[in-house]
């Protein structure tokens, strides 16, 4: 067994009486896709925020490549190799697709303190950005303003920006949300190959995608991980049926 | 320094504070309910003062003058709200700042057009002029004492209005959830106009009351406006209680600082230098206070939202 790239250890977070994260310990091993599923309000977004640094847990640790990053800010975690995509696109809407990707490249190259040569004319930034756009199939839209992109294209751009960072681990918050069947299928194929590059912690509602992609699945209900296992184990787990799938059936 | 002087200065500070509260209450309500930052609030203060001075000049009645101030400011507020302000509720802060800055220009020059550049005077009514002897043998101007009384009465009234009436429920709901009150069948645009006019009336009242101890002139509203902003930033934008505490803090700091800092500096400087440095520091005092509060609590003493 290889060491996990990303792990949480006994993470807890409450909002008043509501326990949003209840003693969550999950990990992400090299080369795998680990999906987190759970009904709405199960605390998936809260968990992601604690992993990526937007929200401070009440107790527990987060480690990235063996380093404890629990007390680090979002940007330090990003520099340490965490590539995140957002459930609701968090992009610079007034900027072009290329500029958004170049921003990511700047983060990767740690190049924001340069004042003279235009960002878009720096090969080290531009190449990195172009490669990422090419990979998600957005090269033709490089000069389109982000506000004019379709919803699906914005999702692609989210992924592209994360790619520019060449992260050690991806954390993706519902990347399929709002994509049509075709879009989901294409993205599923893409993520399938991406896991070799860096493992993916995937929060997703699209169960077809989850059961196709995930090496392991963790089920989060009321802030608690009630089961972790392979797709088959989860499918047949009685607890999961009761707590989660049972609700829908 | 005698204790009489100290008490006198504390009363002066309170009087200044409650008048600031009248301004700040409207500002903070308007921000809390509608999310609008209104630079033209000082203009409504000025409108109140001019209306009072004009009516007092024509009729000789101070009471009528106050009524006129309330009515004129509320009316001006309602008109401005319907014509301009309501287009700004969803606009970015920058637009709000600019549009209301433009309104200041229009109000100020318009008033100059009508009344000219010379200051008007509003006399303290005979019944309230002269000093009154307080327990402890302190002589204090009755009018200023009345201002403190009116200010406190308005504070209590506002509290009752917000906590105890149907309108208050709507106002509080408006601060939390706009869609909700619309869904409850409250005519939201009417509510907004009402809140704006209420805030304007309070500003107009303050203008008229203060106008009797200062001169009534164009541009009188802006210094007060800026102090009122300091007040609501200290208190937490949107909080009426914060505005009250903030207003008293600012009123006391400004008044007491102006008197005591030069005295304090005389202990270790020569008199002339102490007077200068003390006065300099005193006029900066409230901004220093505000800076310290914001460093401690970036959203003010009672503020929740940024």
């Amino acid at each position: 067994m290889s060491d996990p790239v990303l792990a949480t250890l006994n993470l807890n977070k409450s909002f008043g009486a509501l326990k949003a994260t209840d003693d969550v310990s999950i990990d992400l091993k090299p080369g795998e896709i680990h999906a987190i599923i759970g009904p709405n309000g199960a605390g998936k977004s809260t968990l992601i925020k604690q992993i990526c640094g937007g929200l401070k847990p009440d107790s527990g640790r987060v480690t990235l490549c063996g380093q404890d990053v629990s007390d680090q800010s979002t940007q330090v975690r990003a520099q340490a190799g965490l590539g995140r995509t957002f459930q609701i696109s968090e992009l610079c809407m007034e900027d072009t697709v290329l500029e958004n990707a170049v921003l990511g490249a700047m983060g990767a190259e740690n190049l924001s303190w340069r004042f003279w040569r235009p960002a878009l004319k720096r090969p080290e930034l531009r190449d990195r950005a172009e490669v990422a756009l090419e990979r998600v199939g957005l090269s033709d839209e490089r000069d389109t303003r982000c506000a004019n992109l379709s919803h699906g294209q914005r999702r692609q751009l989210e992924v592209a920006v994360a790619l520019t960072l060449s992260p050690r681990a991806f954390v993706m918050d519902e990347p399929m949300a709002g994509l049509g069947a075709g879009g989901s299928k294409r993205l599923t194929g893409f993520l399938d190959g991406l896991r070799e590059e860096a493992p993916i912690l995937l929060v997703e509602h699209d169960m077809d995608a989850v059961f196709t992609l995930a090496d392991r699945i963790s089920v989060l209900v009321y802030g608690k991980v009630i089961a972790t296992g392979t797709a088959d184990e989860i499918r047949t787990s009685p607890e999961v049926r009761d707590a989660y799938l049972g609700d829908e059936a | 320094m005698s204790s009489i002087l100290i008490i006198e200065q504390i009363l002066n500070g309170l009087q200044f504070g409650v008048m600031l509260f009248l301004m700040a209450a409207g500002l903070t309500l308007i921000f809390g309910v509608m999310g609008l930052i209104n630079l033209a609030h000082g203009s409504l203060y000025m409108v109140g003062a001019f209306a009072a001075a004009a009516v007092a000049g024509a009729t000789g009645s101070f009471l009528l003058a106050l009524v006129a101030a309330l009515a004129a400011a509320a009316l001006a507020g309602a008109i401005v709200e319907m014509a301009v302000i309501r287009r700004l509720y969803k606009a970015p802060h920058l637009d709000q700042v600019l549009a209301t800055f433009a309104l200041i220009l229009i109000f100020s020059e318009g008033t100059r057009w009508v009344f000219g550049s010379f200051p008007l005077f509003l006399d303290i009514p005979d019944a309230l002029s002269g000093p009154v002897t307080l327990p402890g043998g302190i002589e204090y101007p009755l009018y200023r004492l009345t201002l403190i009384g009116i200010g406190l009465a308005v504070a209590v009234g506002l509290w009752a209005l917000i906590e105890r009436t149907r309108l208050g429920i709507q106002i509080r709901a408006g601060e939390n959830d706009r869609e909700m009150i619309a869904a409850l069948g409250v005519d939201i645009s009417k509510l907004y106009t009402l809140v704006f006019a209420l805030g304007a009336a309070l500003a107009g009242l303050a203008g008229a009351l203060v106008g009797a101890i200062q001169s009534v002139q164009v541009g009188m509203g802006e210094p007060v406006l800026i102090l009122a902003f300091v007040v609501i930033v200290i208190g937490g934008i949107g909080s009426v209680r914060g505005a009250f505490i903030g207003a008293l803090l600012v009123g006391l700091t400004d008044t007491l600082g102006g008197v005591f800092l030069p005295e304090l500096f005389k202990l270790f400087m020569d008199t002339g230098a102490a007077q200068k440095s003390g006065a300099a520091l005193a006029s900066m005092g409230i901004y220093v206070l505000m800076g310290m509060v914001l460093i401690w609590r970036p959203t003010g003493l009672f503020g929740a939202r940024a």
Partner: protein
Amino acid sequence: MRLDEKYLNGLLIAGLLALPLWALVMDQPFTITLVTRAVILALAAVGLNIILGIGGMVSFGHAVFFGIGGYAMGILAYHAQTYTALDLGFFTTDGTKSMPVIWLMAMVTSGIVAFFIGLLSLRTSGVYFIMITLAFGQMFFYFAISWAQYGGEDGLSIYVRNDFPGLNTLMPIQFYAICFTLLCAVLFLFARLQASPFGLALNAARQTATRVETVGLNPMRLKLLAFVLSGAVTGLAGALFADLNRFVSPTMFSWQLSGELIVLIIIGGVGRLMGPVIGACVFVALEHFLGDLTEFWHVYLGVILLCIVLFGRGGLIGLLTGKEGAHV
């Protein structure tokens, strides 16, 4: 009609070159002074545009830096003209009448003050940021009023305009040349800055700080540096403005001036390279021509401003080129 922004910018620069030359030929020194005033105000607003247009920070206290620049000039020149020593604590000087030295002092002092104001103000955002910058402006305003050594409320007069090596600054056209050159230089730097990685990141921080953090950059530091640069440029403009009037007073710190600087940018177009320039030209022209027609010209300014805010996002450049301005 839709103009390309590049042509519009070129046209504007050409106009700023041609108008004073025409005034020189027609022997109308007052026109030159008027254009100089516009150019200096434009420079101050270009400074503000760094944080307002690119970084989205609505500073309602930028007159602080304008005033500091003004007083840097006033104080140095005052000591030079009265042959009195200026004791700065760590060293003593007799002041100076040399413009480059004054500019340097103005920019360094403004930059340092901007660093501290920025450090405190950037802890807040939104309305609080607007208010705290406004309060800092008032703080300096009152300080200047009570600073009796340098004229207090009455301000300081400088008898002769300061010197620039090789030029006769008393000739309006030569002083104009200095101001115009500085404006062009700063505009060039602004354009470079805007396109540079720093500018791109700052622009991104305006739109979404979360995104900037998520790629591993620190939006706070970006904004703070922008604030310092912005303060230094506006400080430089303040020094020139004081030199133009040969006078500096607390009104250079006034909150109306802070408001007007924002207004200049809005008239021209937020975040546009030449927005502040076109805004300043229009503003000075309005002030002059409307001011001639009626002493109540501020009413019209108010109405124009209202119309721009309510109906014309993007300012004049937006109107002429069909592009929207940056959203702040």
